[in-house]
Amino acid sequence: MNDRLIPWVLPFTVFLLWFLSSEMEIVPLYLFPHPFEVAQSGWSYIFGKIGDEPYAGRFVYDLAASCTRISLGFGLAVMTALPLGLMSGRNRFVHRLLGTSVDGLRAVPGITWLPLAMVWFGIGIKTTVFLVGMAAFFPIYLNSATGAREVDPLLLQAGAMMGVNRFNAVFRILIPAAMPSIVTGLRLGLGISWAYLVLGELTGVPNGLGAIIMDARMVGRTDIIVVGIFLVSVIGRLSDLLLKLLLRFCFKNAL
């Protein structure tokens, strides 16, 4: 089989099953929409003229808004989780200081932060960015800690001997050497950022892919929800590829 086709086997199978079960009405159509109906809603959402239908034509604006929020939230998470994770992987004191707290907080449902975030940051983009960042924080933190812990001390010694100071050692040695783990963390973090976008856009922002999914849920528009799932997974996959590309560009041994 052509190698480039393999990734499409699974999505295609799912589509086929869905199509057949819709055609044969195994599941009633009011419960789960027909693929063509979903395709139509999707088309209208992406290419329609604003005002024609409830969700028509909003896609570009939603995408732009969501991408901004994701970039900010994910960026914030990287900026905090990566240094803290690396430190906690290399330094017993930081590990003990943060470990318990982070491990506890990891388990806290994102949605419970919403009321608190609203008190701290008000409604609007700051709360959104906080929630998205919060979600991405943990996988990045934990994976970079694992990565940093397992860096061969010999490499750090070699660096020190060649005149790398402690600060530079982080960028020149620690991060490249821990890269496979960090990449896993970043990819998980980016994925979960998208997944938590709905929470971030639940309240107080007028647009965004998360907002539209929640709107559709509120009015029971399953077709739009499926469109949302589809779009978010495509965009999520694209952003994952982008991240990988970027990392491969910056660090040769990253995957």
């Binding site: 010694q157 070699a158 060649m162």
Partner: protein
């Protein structure tokens, strides 16, 4: 004895213990020696006698529990590019190519990109690695890796070269080639070299002086001056004499 300020490298009453299970393990005890500028000193001894530990203290990676190391009159505290190590294990940066590994230390010292390029080219050439500039460490053979490891410290023009069994994993022929290369470079740059090995032939072939170490605890058993002209030939009777003498010393 206070270390004479004029001594190039001075090791004084050095002692080192590791916390074992319960009782601490004395790895080094009362180590004293001096090295002159441009001298090649070998340290031989059985596995576990503390050779690597001693070298790490000289490099500044480990703190001694007693005694101290003086380098050009001042105490050694931390690692630095004036005392470079070629490690026993493979310690190249796996994410950098051969050329980038060699350039690594130099980039910390100078900013001028084209000068770095030229220097790297020169050392690649010297090591016979020009073809392999853009290969990653995992793509080249063990002998080549050691040559890159040597090049990346030689390019920094260190005053002392600390080498921890650098050729142990190489086959006999490659090893002899590397020894010759090392001596050739030493002829050019005349660094001081402290060379750890467990190969007696190697020690005789390259050193001005061989320090023989004892085990449990690690201390200096004997110091032998190798009074042989260079280049040395293994088939030479005098070479054989030093070889047997050292071999016996180690055996006992």
């Amino acid at each position: 004895m206070l270390c004479d300020k004029n001594v190039f490298l001075g090791v004084e009453n050095l002692g080192k213990q590791f916390p074992g299970n319960g009782t601490p393990l004395t790895v080094l005890e009362n180590i004293n020696f001096e090295a002159e500028d441009g001298e090649v000193i070998s340290i031989v001894g059985r596995s576990g006698c503390g050779k690597s530990t001693l070298l790490k203290i000289l490099a500044g990676f480990l703190k001694p529990d007693s005694g101290s190391v003086f380098f050009k009159g001042s105490r050694v505290h931390r690692p630095g590019p004036d005392r470079c190590v070629v490690f026993q294990e493979d310690a190249l940066f796996p994410w950098l190519t051969a050329g980038e590994n060699i350039a690594f230390g130099l980039k910390r010292q100078i900013r001028d990109g084209s000068r770095i390029e030229r220097e790297v080219d020169r050392f690649l050439d010297l090591m016979g690695l020009s073809q392999f500039r853009d290969y990653l460490p995992r793509e080249i053979s063990g002998g080549m890796k050691q040559r890159v490891a040597l090049a990346r410290v030689l390019i920094l023009n260190p005053e002392i070269l600390l080498m921890d069994e650098p050729f142990a994993a190489l086959d006999a022929q490659t090893r002899e080639e590397m020894q010759e290369l090392l001596l050739e470079l030493w002829g050019q740059f005349s660094h001081t070299i402290v060379f750890v090995t467990h190969d007696v032939g190697e020690a005789v072939a390259i050193s001005d002086r061989v320090i023989v170490m004892d085990k449990n605890p690690g201390r200096i058993k004997d110091v032998i001056n190798i009074e042989l002209e260079r280049p040395r030939r293994r088939e030479d009777v005098n070479f054989m004499r030093f070889y047997s003498r050292l071999y016996k010393l180690l055996r006992d």
